[in-house]
C-alpha cells in the first residue's frame, strides 16, 4: 500500500481520451453472397450442412457444430415467427427513445438460427407471432442487414 493518498476531492485528476477509429468490414464469403441475394433478388437464404442436415440462417461458410463446409443454399422465404423479443425504450447513451423499438429473433420453419431484427407496424407483439420481412426498395439496398427495413405481422 502506498505511503500517500489523495485526500482533496478537488485534486482527483482525470485524463480524457478515446480509442476511436473508422472500421470497414468485408461481409465475408457467406455474408457477401447472403446480402447480395437480398439486395438483388429480395431472397432470404439459408445454407444446409451436408453432414448434420441442419439449415443455418443466416447462412455461414461452415457448420459451427461439425465444421463441414456449407455449399448447398436454399431460399427460406420471407415469413417467420417471433422466437423472442424485447421492447427497448432507451438509446445507447441512456436517453429516452422517441418511441419504443422492438427487437426480436425471427426464426424460419425447418431452419436453425434466424435473423435478429426490428419489428414495426404493430401495437402488439408476442412470442410465436407470425411476421414477414419488409424489404427496402431495390435501389436503396446496399447489401446489408438493413436492406430488410423491418419485419411486420403477417395479419
Amino acid at each position: 500500500m502506498s505511503l500517500e493518498k489523495i485526500t482533496n476531492p478537488l485534486y482527483t485528476r482525470h485524463w480524457i481520451g478515446n480509442m476511436e477509429a473508422d472500421y470497414v468490414y468485408t461481409l465475408g464469403v457467406a455474408g457477401e453472397r447472403f446480402f447480395k441475394e437480398i439486395k438483388e433478388n429480395g431472397k432470404i437464404m439459408g445454407a444446409k450442412c451436408p453432414r448434420c442436415g441442419i439449415t443455418y440462417v443466416p447462412p455461414r461458410m461452415y457448420c459451427e457444430k461439425c465444421f463441414a463446409k456449407l455449399e448447398e443454399w436454399v431460399d427460406i422465404g420471407k415469413k417467420g415467427v417471433v422466437h423472442t423479443f424485447s421492447v427497448v425504450t432507451v438509446n445507447v447513451d441512456g436517453s429516452k427513445l422517441d418511441k419504443p423499438a422492438i427487437y426480436a429473433l425471427i426464426t424460419f420453419e425447418g431452419t436453425c438460427g434466424g435473423l435478429i431484427h426490428k419489428i414495426e407496424k404493430t401495437d402488439t407483439v408476442y412470442i410465436g407471432m407470425e411476421v414477414e420481412a419488409v424489404f427496402k426498395p431495390p435501389r436503396e439496398r446496399k447489401a446489408s442487414i438493413n436492406d430488410i427495413a423491418y419485419f411486420k405481422p403477417t395479419k
Binding site: 477509429a21 473508422d22 472500421y23 470497414v24 468485408t26 457467406a30 461458410m61 465444421f67
Partner: protein
C-alpha cells in the same frame, strides 16, 4: 520429468497472408483450423479444448473479439480461452495450448490465431496509437514506427552497426519467402534497394518493415497417447518460456531484449538445453523489422550480444547455413497478421522438423528448433522449443 506430461503438435494449417482478404475473421479461422484438422487426420469433435490468440481488438474492430471469433475457431460448446500478449501472442498461444494438455485436463487442444488488420481504416496504424500511455505518451503524438526506430537506433549505436548490416536480414527473408506459397511480400531485393527505400522514421526505411496483413493459422496439440495414435511423426513441445519486462520502456536500455533472454532461459531449462547455438538446428526469431531478427537471435542466446549481424553477413543464418533463421521468409517476407504470423513461425518449425517443408526445407536434417515472438512496449518475449 516423472509425473510431467509431454505434448505433441500433430497438425498445422495456415491461410494466405494478404493486405486485404474477403473472408471474415471467423471464416479465416475456420479455414486454418480445417486445414490443421485435415493434416492431422482428425475431426472437430476430437478437439477437447480451444485456445485463441489474437492481437488488439482495435484491428478487427470488435470488442472482445475472442468471443466473436469462437465459432470460427471451432469452440462451439467447448472450453475456450483467449490469451493476449501483444505481438508475442502468436508464439504464446501454443504455450497456452501446451498447458491445457500438459496439465492432464485435456487430451487435445486446438490452437488458433487470427488477425484481420484491414478492418481498421484507412490504415491499422491508427489502432497502434492507443498502445501508448494516454497521459504521458499519446499527447506527444506517438506513432508505432517511432518506438521501433528508437530501439533500432539504440541497437545500432551500442554495437556501432551500419544499416547495411541490418538490411541483409530483409534481403534474406524476402528471398526465403519466394518459396512460401502464403507469402505476401516475397521478393528478390538487394541491400541497395533497402537503403534507397523511403525513409519512414530514421533509421527505419520502408523495406526494413513487414507489412500489415490479414490471415489465420492453427495447430493441433495432443497428449503423448493421442499423438502416437494419430501420427508416426509427432513434433514435441519440449520447452516453453515467456517473460514481460517493466511497463516503463523509457527507463530501460532498448539495445538488448532482456525479456527474450529470460523467456529463452525458461524454455531451454525445461528442454534441457545448455548450449543453444550448438543444440538448436533451426530458428524462427520474430522479424517484424529486420533489426528485430538480429535483436532476437541475441536474446535467444544463439550468439553473443552484438554478433548477430556478423552471423548474417557470413551466411550462417541462410537456409543452408549452420543456423538457419526464418526459413519461412518470416514476417518481412510472408506478411504480418500479428498473432497468425507468430503461429505461422511455430508451424514452420513443425514442418521443418517433419522434413516436409519442400523447397524451404533446411538441409541440416534438423532435430531441434525454436520459434520466438516479441510483444508489448519492447517488453514481451515468448519462446517455444520443438523437437522431433
Amino acid at each position: 520429468m516423472f509425473g510431467k506430461k509431454r505434448v505433441a503438435i500433430v497438425g498445422a494449417g495456415v491461410t494466405l497472408f494478404r493486405r486485404n482478404i474477403k473472408e471474415t475473421g471467423k471464416e479465416l479461422s475456420y479455414e486454418a483450423v480445417k486445414m490443421a484438422l485435415n493434416t492431422a487426420g482428425m475431426e472437430l469433435k476430437d478437439m477437447q479444448s480451444v485456445v485463441m490468440g489474437s492481437a488488439p481488438d482495435a484491428f478487427d474492430g470488435v470488442h472482445m473479439k475472442g468471443e466473436y471469433l469462437a465459432d470460427g475457431a471451432g469452440a462451439h460448446c467447448k472450453p475456450y480461452t483467449r490469451v493476449f500478449v501483444g505481438g508475442g501472442t502468436g508464439v504464446f498461444t501454443p504455450l497456452a495450448g501446451w498447458w491445457h494438455v500438459a496439465s492432464g485436463q485435456f487430451d487435445t487442444c486446438l490452437v488458433v490465431c487470427e488477425e484481420k488488420m484491414s478492418s481498421c481504416y484507412p490504415h491499422p496504424q491508427f489502432a497502434f496509437t492507443t498502445i501508448f500511455d494516454p497521459i504521458l505518451e499519446r499527447p506527444v503524438g506517438m506513432n508505432l514506427i517511432w518506438i521501433f526506430a528508437l530501439e533500432m537506433n539504440r541497437y545500432m549505436h551500442k554495437h556501432n552497426l551500419k544499416k547495411e548490416d541490418i538490411a541483409l536480414v530483409s534481403v534474406k527473408n524476402k528471398r526465403n519467402a519466394l518459396d512460401n506459397p502464403i507469402a505476401q511480400l516475397a521478393a528478390e531485393i538487394t541491400v541497395e534497394d533497402v537503403l534507397k527505400s523511403e525513409i519512414m522514421a530514421w533509421p527505419v526505411q520502408r523495406l526494413d518493415v513487414s507489412p500489415t496483413s490479414d490471415g489465420a493459422a492453427a495447430l493441433i496439440l495432443a497428449s503423448e497417447d493421442v499423438a502416437k495414435e494419430v501420427t508416426d511423426n509427432p513434433v514435441w513441445i519440449d520447452g516453453v518460456g515467456w517473460c514481460i519486462d517493466s511497463t516503463q520502456w523509457t527507463n530501460r536500455d532498448l539495445y538488448y531484449p532482456d525479456y527474450v533472454e529470460y523467456a529463452a532461459r525458461m524454455a531451454y531449462k525445461m528442454a534441457g538445453i545448455r548450449n543453444p547455438p550448438k543444440e538448436i538446428d533451426v530458428a524462427e526469431p520474430y522479424d517484424p523489422f529486420d533489426y528485430k531478427e538480429l535483436h532476437h537471435i541475441e536474446g535467444l542466446l544463439l550468439c553473443k550480444k552484438g554478433e548477430a549481424p556478423k552471423l548474417t553477413r557470413e551466411g550462417v543464418t541462410q537456409r543452408d547455413g549452420d543456423l538457419p533463421t526464418c526459413p519461412s521468409g518470416g514476417l518481412l517476407g510472408c506478411g504480418n497478421p500479428i498473432a497468425a504470423a507468430g503461429l505461422m513461425k511455430v508451424s514452420e518449425i513443425f514442418w521443418q522438423l517433419r522434413g516436409e517443408a519442400g523447397k524451404r526445407q533446411v538441409p541440416c536434417d534438423p532435430r531441434t528448433g525454436v520459434a520466438q515472438a516479441w510483444g508489448d512496449l519492447m517488453q514481451y518475449g515468448s519462446v517455444i522449443v520443438l523437437r522431433r
